[in-house]
Symmetry: C2
Subunit: 145 residues, 2 copies
DNA sequence: ATAGATGCAAATGTTTTGCAGGAAA
DNA sequence: TTTCCTGCAAAACATTTGCATCTAT
């Protein structure tokens, strides 16, 4: 079994919460980690069925919610459809709308400005999304010709 | 009729596109401008029915799409629910995930930091989305009790 | 043995679509 | 009178829930 660290994290979470360690949960976690992108519940369900045809969609939903609670996955709602991504350090995105290239960035200055904004409105920030859409350098050159 | 400028803008859009000027479209635009917040389709539908009980939900959806095309409204998807807001200058959002309150903010510092990031990656930003999710002051108090 | 998990089917909630009748041009 | 619009009902999706059954502990 690949992704041993994540499976151990799941096991610990299940034990800590008196939840049960089932084949379905293992299988879904494995497929989720394998695809390693932003995946919808439906896509995940289809892929899980390739190797485990008896697993239902309901279980995929319930397991993904569990993985989010265990800190292994993040849920992201993009244009009305929920997508899951593997949890990792926070970052934001530059998205090229022409070639689809995605660049990750982090910015201390923006993070601290966010804190100031939140304080001004007496708001406690739990998470955020920040995406810049536009054209990458290569696409700018290609458009200039 | 209040909001004459917007109604004239709608009228022009309809004429320019050989679309028809109906009571329903007027009524929905009026209610939308009156509430002047971030409103869901369902909320809008309920309010429209107070004064125009015969108008259907379908027409609300279709009209809001039209208002977006006419540049009078903007559609936003916050955590899976679509909300409409009156089109105006760019701003970002603080979204309370407990009570649903939405606060708009603008921040020069963040805008200029975005420009620096973009320059660093040789990226030309055309638009962006920036949302901070968390708890508003009132909800923080309620949670503390 | 028993608390918890599963999978089906049905319910829910949101948005879209087909269609026949109705209104604006 | 022709084209577009409306409202209903039904469809289309995405997600959740009730429940009887099964399984890990």
């Amino acid at each position: 079994m690949a992704h041993e660290v994540e499976h151990r994290t799941l096991a610990r979470y299940l034990e800590d919460n008196q939840l049960k360690h089932t084949k379905q949960r293992e299988a879904i976690l494995d497929v989720f980690l394998e695809v390693s992108g932003h995946i919808t519940s439906e896509d995940l369900y289809q892929r899980v069925r390739d190797s485990h045809p008896q697993i239902g969609h309901t279980t995929v939903y319930r397991t993904m919610k569990l993985l989010c609670e265990a800190g292994l996955a993040h849920e992201h709602n993009f244009d009305g459809t929920t997508r899951y991504e593997i949890a990792h350090e926070h970052h934001d995105h530059l998205v090229c709308t022409r070639c689809g290239k995605i660049i990750e960035f982090e910015c201390e200055m923006i993070e601290s400005a966010q804190e100031k904004i939140a304080a001004r409105y007496d708001f406690r920030v739990l998470r955020h999304r920040h995406e810049l859409y536009g054209h990458c350098g290569k696409c700018q050159e290609e458009l200039a010709t």
